[in-house]
Symmetry: C2
Subunit: 198 residues, 2 copies
């Protein structure tokens, strides 16, 4: 707790780690909502929480992880992307389809994911925040892996978002009921073609 800023504290108040962590998360939620993902700096979040920026890094690491924690983002890109992007290039489409369907298939992730999509579709502020986060934490990293225009990565993302909407939100049959394996077979070549630039 030595890293917290004593000059800004009222005398006699010494918050514990749980309280400090909660204060950072609250400040992060406020600032991400107010300034968007790109506009909210770790420094500004630390200032709003009345702590030292080093303490934010100590608790959460990078801004991306702070966003995941503060917004309760149900999928951590830092955990799933290394698997998707790390294997052989020619089977990336398959790993991406598998990972996307597995994450949406988890009941504890699906509700929050649908909630995020609904918010982004009905609220411009939520859309802006999600757009910036997904661009910085997912799309641009996938783009860095492949030497193809970013619009191709977004076409691949569009394919999977559309599948999630038909399968999990609108529940159109038969796509709502076919197995994950069958869907992976169907979708992997589409994603792979976008990544291959062909």
């Amino acid at each position: 707790m030595a890293a917290s800023s004593p000059s800004r504290r009222r005398p006699g108040r010494r918050p514990g780690p749980t309280e400090t962590r909660a204060a950072i998360l609250t400040a992060a939620r406020d600032l991400f909502a107010e300034k968007g993902y790109d506009g909210a700096s770790i420094r500004a979040i630390a200032r709003a929480a009345d702590v030292d920026p080093a303490l934010v890094h100590h608790f959460f690491g990078a801004k991306e992880a702070l966003f995941v924690a503060a917004m309760e983002f149900p999928v951590n890109p830092a955990k799933v992307l290394p698997y998707v992007l790390g294997g052989p290039r020619e089977s990336t489409g398959r790993r991406m389809a598998q990972t996307f369907l597995r994450e949406w298939g988890r009941p504890e992730a699906r509700g929050p994911l649908i909630g995020l999509l609904r918010s982004a579709m009905t609220n411009e502020q939520a859309a802006e925040m999600l757009r910036q986060f997904v661009s910085a934490a997912i799309l641009s990293r996938v783009g860095d892996r492949f030497d193809v225009p970013l619009v191709r990565i977004e076409a691949a993302a569009a394919q999977m978002i559309g599948v999630a909407i038909l399968r999990y939100v609108l529940r159109v049959e038969p796509i709502a009921s076919v197995s994950e394996e069958e869907l992976v077979e169907l979708l992997a070549p589409t994603l792979q073609r976008y990544f291959d630039g062909t």
Copy 2:
């Protein structure tokens, strides 16, 4: 107007065509909302509007056209599908991508289309109605044209719905700004592959 049911009319009341048409549309909206697209019959809508079913057919033709009119559905599948499905099979993907982007590109259609998607994503009754209509009026007809499992038609629809969300609703760059022609080039082979069953 001889087709209206005189036994159910109060004496002295003789509605004109405009009034009758409006009564049918109101009854259709109510019944589509209450019973869904499949569950609302022309007969039941006519009964609710207190007119003869033949008059509903006279004004609107098939149930699909009545739905388009009553729900102010911004794209008439009966008008766009013959073009998409009528040309050479090997260029169907291209015509579908072109038509989808052209319809979403019309400012007077885009707002209502986004509205429908938002409603379907936040309201189960709206989702059910849209799901049944899109299945009957679009997906099953495209499926009839190609001898492939319906899940492939839905994967193609998912690609285009995802593109609409990223391009027109969330406005992620660069997919929000690239030309329709560039997107058609990018997406047509994906759609074609689903239709070809390869």
